[in-house]
Subunit: 356 residues, 2 copies
Amino acid sequence: MKIHNFSAGPCILPDEVFQKMSEAVLNFNNSGSSIMEISHRRADAQEVMDTSIQLVKELLQVPDTHEVIFTQGGASLQFVMVPFNMMKVNGSAAYLETGAWAKGAIKEAKKLGNVEIIASSADQNFNYIPKDYTVPSNVDYFHCTSNNTIFGTQMKSFPESSVPVVCDMSSDILSKPLDVSKFDVIYAGAQKNMGPAGSVMAIVNKEVLGKTGRDIPSYLDYQIHINKGSAFNTWPVLAIYGVMLNLQWLKNQGGVAGISKINQEKAELLYSEIDRNGLFTGTAVVEDRSEMNATFVLNNEDLKSEFDKMWKEAGISSLNGHRDVGGYRASMYNALPLESVQVLVDVMKAFEQKFG
Amino acid sequence: MKIHNFSAGPCILPDEVFQKMSEAVLNFNNSGSSIMEISHRRADAQEVMDTSIQLVKELLQVPDTHEVIFTQGGASLQFVMVPFNMMKVNGSAAYLETGAWAKGAIKEAKKLGNVEIIASSADQNFNYIPKDYTVPSNVDYFHCTSNNTIFGTQMKSFPESSVPVVCDMSSDILSKPLDVSKFDVIYAGAQKNMGPAGSVMAIVNKEVLGKTGRDIPSYLDYQIHINKGSAFNTWPVLAIYGVMLNLQWLKNQGGVAGISKINQEKAELLYSEIDRNGLFTGTAVVEDRSEMNATFVLNNEDLKSEFDKMWKEAGISSLNGHRDVGGYRASMYNALPLESVQVLVDVMKAFEQKFG
């Protein structure tokens, strides 16, 4: 039976990525060697990294002021790298608190300086995006999280800012067009729309670096990764090959503009059903709903085992919500086909017919 | 033609690891899902991490005082994590300087405190292991590098120390039996004897943590990774699956005791030929020669293109030495079969017959 994979990440990737990765593990580019056993310094490995960086630049129309790097440690290490690279000694930063990952970023920045939480949606368990705030002009940078995987909210616009803007886009990067020039640091763990878990991508405005007065540990220093073309140390060749294949697939879908139309269609299909169906309620405020992660609950929790049985029988996997929200979470990343959302919607309709 | 892969890392891994990885990329444990698309929190993914940790403990007989963790960022991030976790505020550490990677570790420690280089082989381009030194008792820890991949040297014994001992074992971990109890932190990038590039393993004596007075960034904190069972954030499922398969293969070879015999046999075969053959000279001092990386040069550099042609025709790959040493480097990690070393030795003999 076909599996409809709504996992929040690591998550579904295109079938052709799996096929090509599987082949390359045995025989990379007909070299007779596995992609796992070649040096990252070999020309054909170097091409994998260079192509991945180039594809990000092309797909997101990254301006020349910015550079693209791939490192390791996920967004959690970016939480540390951002203040090391952006916060002056005895400096400060403004953070928008929109969920668990934003809180994680705030926690790390506080270890290096003063953090001002300029707005928070903690009062309603992060079910909305705060909008009534002003980014101060006397901080070193402003940090926000564009998509909150756990709570199903997404920033549809970004505030005016006179200071550098840093954004964690781990769960909605490459899902739609983006004006990169409005951001100074964008970072994103690969394991949603970019590839397998094991790498994290950053897009950095080179002009904002080198201003903190800190002696930055080398691995945490954006400038070093930029200078070394993301090969400061041994990079995860297998993981980046997965990223490259995934970016090539995205390009063939019409890039971010092309995939954005399908992502909108998927989100509309599911949210329409959540709103129409009397047995379910969406948890996020309507205007802040995420196109990537739709969170919803049963109005009658007593029916949980019945609904769970039905979606599992339909081949749906990984629909359970995060423990912080409960209920259900349908993650609809780039590689999830419309067909899978239709299967979920059909199950919700059948469930209504039976128990409504 | 069979490839004899002498790459210094990422390097050869067992064929059965490639086969099983390739299958799991398409269909992990007959679940119908790729190992790249499942959540790291799923029970069958969790089992991959738990089994990997357990196998390290079993293979190296890790005592209960120590814990095993897997993180990302390679040994280069460990260079940063070690002083953050081990060096007191305004503290100091003693480092042994035996090569390029030791220098990298020293550079990062200096950013956090006072570093005393208690011995160095820089005077002879790191072709030996210094032995005439005493580890001071008034430092926070002593750091050394057990195997110097670039220079072909290896520590055959470790000094007495009254302070905690930290060792970078990236390129000889799991190649032979080891008394873990004599070390307080051992770390090793996976991409030599452990698996594909993309993870780094650390074995940490829990009793030495929490004594620095530092507010450690979360990702850099050993205690957090220990507390979270190496799942503080999304870990690289694909890479760790490769580690698990490789550790299982090693267990089936008779563990570190079994592989150690073969590694000794391979090293003896090659070093005997280097010493016997009048056209070559080994670059490392004999008593400090590495079992993992044999470095040697041609006595007559004019014959380089002839020798290069011969070994390439024999199916040998990645034999060129690092630019810091020149000449040749034969890396003989666990998965390299004795047969491949024999092919190299046969080429060296044939080369001597033709040009000797």
